[in-house]
Structures are given as C-alpha cells and as structure tokens.
C-alpha cells in the first residue's frame, strides 16, 4: 500500500527519514567542528571547508543514488585496480602528516585514497560473491582474501591502522553474511586460533612505535598523563565532565582550551559529549542507531544478492567506524585513528561516507522498481 504510493512518486517517507537522519548528524558535526575551531584564523576555517566537503558529498550521494548499482558494480574490479595504484603512489608521492603518509596533494586539497578504498572494496567483494555461486572455502574465503590482502598491506604500510582495521571488518562482515558451510566456518575459526600467536607476533612487530605506544597507553592511560596516555585521558575527561546536561555550546573547557587534541577530527565526539552531556549523547546515539537500523532494513529487502551484500558491507563499515570511534574516545578501545562518520572533519571521508549512503539508497530504489 505504502509501496504503491511511493512507486508513483519515486521518493518516499523512508528516503525522507534516511536523508533526514544524515542531514541531522552532518549538522551536529559541523556545529561541533565550528565550536572547537571558531577562533581559527584562516580565510577558510575548518567548518567552512567541511560544508564544502558536504556539498561535494551530496553530489556523490546523488550520483550513487540515481545510477544503477549493477552498473556501478561492474566497474568494481577496474576501480579496485586504480585504488591499488593510488595506494602505491601515495607511498612514494604522498604528503606526510603526523608521521603517516596518507594523502595525495591535489592543488589546495589532499585526497586520501584509503578512504575510497573502503567503498571500492565493498563493491569488489559484493561483485565477486554475486557474479557466480561461490562454493567451497577456497572460493568463499581464500580468493576474496587474496583480493583484500594487497590493499590491506598497502594501507598498513602508510601507516593507517584505522583504515586497515576497517578493511578487515568489511571482509569479516562479508564472510559472515555469505552463506557458509559450518565445516568451512569451523576450519577458519580453528586455523585462526592456531595462527593467532604468529599473527599477533607479525602484527605487533609490524606496528610503528607510536601505534604500539597508543595501544599500551590504552591499557593504563593514567600512568603517564604527559606522554602517550594524554589523548585518551583528555578525551575521557572531556566526555565525563559533560555530566548529564553538558557544559553548553562553546562551554567545554577541554575542547575550547585545546586540552583535547584533534577536537575537529577523531575526537569530535568528545567535543559534542562535553558540550551536550549524556542527554545529547543519547540523542546522537539514537540518530546513529536509527541510521544503522534503516540501512539493515534496506539490506533485508534487497532484491538480489549484490544489493544485499552492498548494503550489508556499507552498514557494517559505517557501524564499525561509529562504534570504534566512540569506543576509543570513551576509553573502551585503543586510539586507532578512525574518524566518526558524518561528523569528523575530513574531505575524503565525508565524500566517501555520503557516496556509500547514496549507494545504499540506490539498492532500496531498485527493489521498488521490480515490485
């Protein structure tokens, strides 16, 4: 009944709610960025640039929404190849910032291939699983794993632990969702358990010093407040000091006086939590939860496997980033440098996230056209 009404207009209340949630979260993000950087002395302050990124993202959103996702998926392999090339380029020609080489300069801006790599990976894996029935653990696990591996390696080399973990999360979510025989699942679980010590050794050894310190600082952030635990502790102080009702807009001393580092990027959630308190946090979490819920709704009503896998992949990536970011600002996880989707300042991430959400809505649109 509702569907029919929607079909006639091509735009329904579901789309409205979905887009409404996105706009609300984006708005909260810009406000928080403005609050923490409003004293910035620049022709183009962060909040203004973020608005530009959002507008660019809106274009990407519309493009992804209105084209056919099957056609987009067909471009997955070449796109992945291009991304791999870009990831190689960034290693040699990229711009460094705070010890990591993640950006390719483009005029006044810088472009971060690892952000786009996440979306392209989702497309690639979804395309792979849906092209033919994949049977056996070789086809279901190992081959896609070989697809993931080079990208993951290049991203960890930058180093970008956050994006690397996102990559793994996308892969794991896909594996979980693709129907898998319990035997194959058992083999994976067993082998990963056995390989864990070696993998840990390899992982820990491959980490850079500052990454290791961050993880160590997570274990006991109060131990050395001046050093490695500083970020984690200051973020917890900011959130905790917000109490029930918050310190009010611009009232957060932790963020206004810059005790909280990276208030406009990775720790934007702490800025918000300090200003708006637990009540604000509950509202924001509800917005995110609603967005995830609607995304899963799209996945569960997708008309084909490609659509379902795309929706699941995007939803999982989004959820993973939200949970890990908020978890790290609240001191539940080590600080791994994952931005908060739709809120943290950053051009590549904002455009990529909005493009992904556009793709999600595209999956839902195709379902309707077949009814």
């Amino acid at each position: 009944m509702i569907d029919r009404a929607i079909k006639s207009r091509g735009f329904d209340s579901f789309d409205l709610r979905f887009i409404g949630l996105i706009v609300a979260i984006l708005g909260i993000g810009v406000l928080s960025i403005y609050s923490v950087t409003r004293d910035q002395n620049a022709a183009f302050p962060f909040y203004a640039k973020q608005v530009v990124w959002i507008l660019l993202g809106a274009v990407a959103f519309l493009v992804m929404w209105l084209s056919d996702y099957h056609r987009i998926a067909r471009l997955a392999y070449p796109a992945y190849a291009i991304i791999l090339v870009l990831l190689v380029v960034v290693l040699f020609e990229g711009k460094s910032s705070r010890g990591a080489q993640r950006w390719i300069p483009m005029g006044p801006f810088a472009f971060q291939p690892s952000e786009f790599a996440k979306l392209v990976l989702i497309l690639t894996l979804a395309h792979y699983y849906s092209r033919a029935p994949r049977v056996g653990w070789l086809q279901r696990v190992v081959l896609p794993g070989l697809l993931v591996f080079p990208g993951l390696l290049l991203i960890l080399k930058q180093p970008d632990l956050g994006s690397g973990l996102s990559f793994l999360a996308v892969y794991a979510a896909m594996l979980l969702m693709v129907k898998m025989r319990s035997k194959a699942l058992g083999v994976i679980l067993l082998s990963s358990l056995m390989l864990f010590p070696f993998a840990w050794e390899a992982m820990w050894g491959a980490l850079h010093d500052y990454q290791r310190q961050r993880i160590m600082a997570f274990v006991d952030p109060t131990h050395d407040t001046g050093g490695k635990g500083y970020h984690a502790l200051q973020s917890r102080i900011a959130i905790g000091a917000g109490e029930l009702t918050g310190k009010g807009l611009y009232g957060g001393t932790q963020s206004q006086l810059k005790f909280l580092p990276e208030g406009h990027t990775d720790f934007v959630f702490s800025v918000f939590a300090e200003e708006w308190g637990f009540l604000g946090v509950l509202a924001l979490l509800s917005l995110f939860a609603a967005l995830i819920w609607l995304s899963l709704e799209i996945a569960s009503r997708a008309k084909d496997q490609l659509g379902a896998l795309l929706a699941v992949g995007i939803t999982c990536l989004l959820s993973f980033c939200i949970v890990v970011n908020i978890g790290m600002t609240a001191g539940m996880f080590p600080i791994v440098g994952i931005p908060l989707p739709l809120m943290s300042y950053g051009g590549s991430a904002t455009v990529m996230t909005l493009a992904s959400l556009g793709l999600l809505l595209n999956v839902k649109r195709r379902r309707l056209s077949f009814l």
């Binding site: 849906s130 102080i237 005790f259």
Partner: protein, 626 residues
C-alpha cells in the same frame, strides 16, 4: 540481472542472517551508551574535577616593595618592571627534559635549575626559576613555549637602586628568601621565590617594605597561555620609607673617603637622626639583588676590602685618643682631677719596668685638663687612668654608650669592647694586668668601638649629655591609605655628670680645632669642636719611622670626631680612615668639609624636610604597579 547467477534461496538465507547483525549492532550501541553513562553520570563529578584542574592555575602576584626616599624625598630605591621565569609543575610532562631545555636555552647551570624546580612547596604554586630575565631571554622562552609546557614568563616589579653604590650599606639589598629563612615564623606568609630584604634597611624594615603577595587563578589553554583571569586577590604594595639621611650629604661623605677604606657618620645630636652614614668600599646593591652564582658570591665575600661590611656599624677599631673625651668627663665626675689640676709630661710614663711613651717625644710639659685635651697629651691620661682604675673607666665608657648597641635600626650591629677585669676573665680566661689599664686610658689595648658609637658619643657631648638612639627612618607611609606615620625620636639616656663638666669639655674640644691637634678642621663658615685620634693597629717597636716608610696595612687608623656649631650643635660627625695615619692630618679635614657642606645645605632643612616629603607623596605610588 539473472546473469548474476544468484539463487533465491541463497538471498533468503543471507537476509535471514541479518538478524544476527541487527541484534549484535544494537547490543554494541547499547554497550556504548552504558559506557558513556558510566563516564558522564557515575564518574561525571570526578572528571569535572579533572577538567577544572586542567584549566586553572594559581599564579602568585608579587607585591611591589615599598619605595625608599631620603629626608628630602629623593628616591633611593624603587621598582622597575622585569621578566621572571616561572614553571608550573602541573603542566610539565618530563622534568628532566624541561631542565635540559632551559639549561640549553638560557645557559643556566642545570643543578641550579633542578634545585629551583624541585624546591619544596605546594604543587599548585608555580616555581620561580629566574628573575631579571633580559629581553632576549624572555623572547627566547616565549618563542619556545610550545615545546615547554608549564613554562611561564611573568612581568614583575624588580628592586632598583637608582643611585647605585650610594648609601649601599645603609639601604642594603634584597634577595630570594632562603629555604632556612622560610622555616622561621616571621617568613611564614612567604613562599619559594619571595623577595625579602637581606641587608641594611631593606632587611631591618622588611616587614614594612615587603608588602603582601596576591594570588590569581587564571584559566590556561593546553599550552599554558593565559586565557582569562578567574579570581583575583590583589597584592598589596609595601609601605614607603622616608629615611633621615640627606643623600647630598651622603654622597659627599662617600666621596671624601674616596678609595680609602673607612667610615663617616653624621648625626643630628638633638634627635639622633642619621644624616649620613658612609662606609667604603661599597657595593652595587643592584648587582647583589640579582641571583648570584656561588662563584660571584665568593668573589664579593672574599674581596680583601670586605665591601659588604658596613664599617660604620660593624667595623670595630681602637678609639685612640678620641677615648680621652670620655676619660676627661669621668676624671672630673669622680674628682680624680679638677680643671686646675696639672700633671707634668716629659714624654713618657714609667710603670713598673715599662715606659709608656707620649706621642710627642719631648713631652708637653705641665698640662691641665684643657691643655691635655687640646694637645692630646697621653701622659696626663695615663696618670688619670691609673688613678681611676679600669673598673671606673669601664663604668663611664658604658655611660657613653660604648660596649653596647647604639640600637641603630640596621641588622648585625657590633658593640665593640669595653675591657674590665671581669671581661678579660670571661673572654680570655686571664687576670687583668695593671699595665693594661694604662693602654686602655688612651683608647688602646683591648678597647674597641664602632664609628657609629663614636658619633653617638660626640653627639651626646654636644647635646649636653642627652643621648638619642640613632634614627634612620623618620616616617613610614602606608601605601594603602596614604597615611604618613612619623617614627618617634627615642632619648636613650642622660649622662649622670655634674652640670659644669660638659661645657668645660666642649670648650676644650673647641680649642682642639682652634689651637690644638686639629687645626686643619678650622672652618671659616662655622665654629667646629672635635677630637683627633690615632689608633695604633700593631706595636711597631721602639724605633719611630717616617709614615711613608710603613706599609699601608700597618699604618694607624685616623679618627676625628666633631660637632658644630660649637654653641648650639646641629651636627655631630665621626670620621674613621683605616690606615690613613694621623687623625689630625688625615681625618680632621674630611670632617671639616662634611660639616661645611652641611652648613651650605642646611638653612631651612628642618622646615623643608616635612614639606618636601608631603609634596612628593602624591607621586610616591607612581613607580609601583597599582
């Protein structure tokens, strides 16, 4: 789309599995909510506390010290703005790294910096590391601030002595309160880095001049930049002091001594006001008020001229013939002699197997008391002393204020020595020898006095026996109220002498200048009375040598005490020149010049003293930050 090779069953299976994700993700979001509830609600107050702690710093606001003026309102000590380096320990991430950075940046001694930073005290209060930063140093620190969290440069008022070396012993100098001082009750309201007077008037009147420190809580950002002042408890500037000295006279006194070591004290005998108190060599209090390295300190302290010694109140010398003023009064009061009694002087006094020489080889012939003073006949006083005995001499010496504090308002005054049998037994554990009485009767032997005591003695004589406590500060101005409070003149005692005795002695002392040993002090401007003294520092043996052949170190100290004008004295002077030879030739001319200067400056001095002071009150608060 069929080409995708999907099976409906597989899609259905996948979509059924989504329930795992739904439940799982909702659970995780709920878990996040729980964690945030824990942080914000359960531990909210704790983190609020931490955030307050993060942003507020206590900063001490040092008070401006009170200003010091001379009796005419001429500025002697004020304050100038200067940069001070503080370290706020709460913001320091690694103390060792910071010590390294500061050492490299400012070229400081790492041990010194460590001591300052690790000093005892509340962790909330910043540690003062170095005052009087140069502009270059302050700029260097500011430009490296981001690398050195916790480092602050504050503008504070710094003690400054515009006159430099002038009146240095009198004014003294200031310095940081020492850890030992901090443990004493009178410094209990101070803290590490507080500036207190360490010498002179600065030390003695510190509780007036010091003022009271204020405190402010400031809001700082993550790199320690001051954003906003939260609470202010303003500092209270110290009280202003108006000294009794006339800086013009003081300068003349110091110049008279020139490169010689010695002291000149000038008092107003009617009030005890110290008009000038010079001691040479001097020092620059501006340098001593800085942080000196141990090496710089050692250089000053071990300097052979002992410039830190205030010779006026801390130098002890045998009085030589100046002692005869007291001896004459004692002899008359005890009826040992009458003014008419004559004693024959043939140039020596035989006592036992020893012959005590007179300074004049041939002797003075038959002399009465007046002539004995005018000519400074030693034999006369050997005889008188021998007749009176050491105990009587000691009694009268104490009457004249010798062997006790003048109670001048300066730290560490010395009292000299008035010898007696009891004193010798106590000090040397030896019995008194009769011959020692003879040396003592002309101010030699064990007798020791300070120039200030001598000035006070001659002032007492000039003032007809009424002794005043020397007064250095005539008024204190409360900075808060602007109220000027005069400090009283304090009569100390009145000599118990028959009334005809002092006029007799004063007339004889006028004769000393007119026709006796101090004719070089004779002035065309004013009548002067005085007494010379030549104090032997070592026994040179029997043979007399020409003075220029004696090494400087072994030459006699030259004394001259004087008052003027003779009939109504307004100034009393004591001059001591270390190793300058004869009192009559070396010291008397200096006293004369000082007195003449005073006469020229004098005319309306008592009237203008108060006027000048009051007119300058209005700008008194100017130099200090208010």
């Amino acid at each position: 789309m069929a080409t995708a090779g999907l099976h409906d069953s597989e899609l259905g299976e996948l979509q059924r599995r989504l329930i795992i994700l739904r439940v799982g993700l909702l659970l995780v979001v709920a878990l996040l909510g729980l964690r945030l509830w824990h942080l914000q609600i359960r531990e909210g107050l704790y983190y609020l506390d931490l955030s307050e702690n993060n942003r507020t710093r206590s900063v001490i606001m040092e008070p401006a010290r009170g200003l010091i003026y001379d009796r005419n309102g001429v500025l002697l000590a004020n304050n100038v703005p200067s940069f001070t380096l503080y370290v706020s320990l709460e913001d320091v991430k690694d103390r060792n790294v910071l010590i390294d950075q500061l050492t490299n940046l400012l070229g400081l001694d790492p041990v010194f910096v460590r001591k300052k930073i690790m000093a005892k005290g509340s962790k909330q209060l910043p540690r003062k590391v170095k005052g009087r930063l140069s502009l270059r140093e302050a700029t260097l620190i500011e430009s490296h601030r981001l690398d050195m969290p916790g480092v602050m440069v504050q503008v504070e008022s710094q003690r400054n002595y515009p006159g430099g070396v002038v009146a240095s012993h009198l004014l003294g100098y200031v310095g940081e309160v020492s850890p030992e001082q901090l443990e004493r009750p009178e410094f209990s309201d101070l803290h590490q880095g507080s500036i207190v007077g360490q010498y002179g008037v600065e030390k003695f009147f510190d509780r007036f001049v010091r003022g009271q420190a204020g405190q402010k809580s400031i809001e700082v950002d993550a790199v320690g930049h001051e954003k906003r002042t939260v609470v202010v408890e303003p500092p209270h500037a110290g009280d202003n002091l108006y000294l009794t000295i006339d800086v013009r006279l003081q300068k003349v006194a110091e110049n008279l001594l020139g490169d010689e070591s010695g002291a000149i004290v000038a008092l107003d005998p009617r009030t005890g006001d110290v008009l000038a108190m010079a001691s040479r060599p001097g020092f620059d209090p501006n340098i001593l008020s800085r942080e000196l390295t141990p090496k710089q300190w050692a250089e000053i302290v071990q300097n052979e001229g002992r410039p830190l010694n205030n010779r006026a109140s801390q130098g002890q010398y045998p009085p030589g013939s100046v002692f005869k003023v007291m001896m004459a009064a004692a002899a008359l009061e005890t009826n040992t002699v009458t003014p008419a009694t004559t004693i024959h002087c043939n140039g020596g006094y035989q006592f036992g197997r020893r012959l005590y020489h007179d300074w004049k080889a041939g002797g003075h012939g038959s002399v009465d008391l007046r002539r004995a003073l005018v000519q400074s006949c030693d034999v006369y006083f050997y005889t008188v002393g021998q007749r009176m005995g050491i105990e009587t001499m000691a009694f009268f010496a104490h009457q004249f204020g010798l062997g006790e504090e003048t109670e001048v308002e300066l730290p560490s005054e010395r009292i000299g020595i008035v010898p007696s049998a009891a004193w010798k037994l106590k000090a040397k554990n030896e019995p008194w020898l009769p011959g020692e009485t003879i040396s003592a009767s002309i101010g030699q032997g064990y007798v020791n006095v300070t120039p200030l005591q001598m000035a006070s003695l001659i002032g007492t004589v000039a003032n007809d026996g009424v002794a005043f406590r020397p007064r250095l500060v005539q008024a204190v101005m409360d900075r808060a109220t602007g109220e000027l409070q005069a400090r009283p003149t304090v009569p100390k005692r009145t000599l118990k002498l028959r009334p005809e005795i002092l006029p007799l002695i004063k007339e004889a002392l006028a004769g000393v200048v007119k026709e006796g040993t101090a004719t070089r002090a004779k002035s065309a401007l004013i009548t002067i009375a005085g007494k010379t003294g030549t104090a032997q520092t070592t026994a040179l043996g029997k043979e007399k040598r020409a003075e220029k052949d004696i090494p400087k170190k072994l030459r006699d100290h030259a004394w001259f005490v004087a008052f003027a004008p003779v009939d109504a004295p307004t100034i009393a002077v004591a001059v001591l020149g270390e190793h300058m030879g004869h009192g009559g030739s070396a010291a008397a001319p200096l006293a004369k010049e000082l007195i003449e200067t005073y006469v020229k400056l004098m005319p309306p001095i008592s009237a203008s003293a108060t006027n000048g002071m009051v007119t300058r009150d209005s700008d008194a608060g100017g130099p200090g930050p208010r």
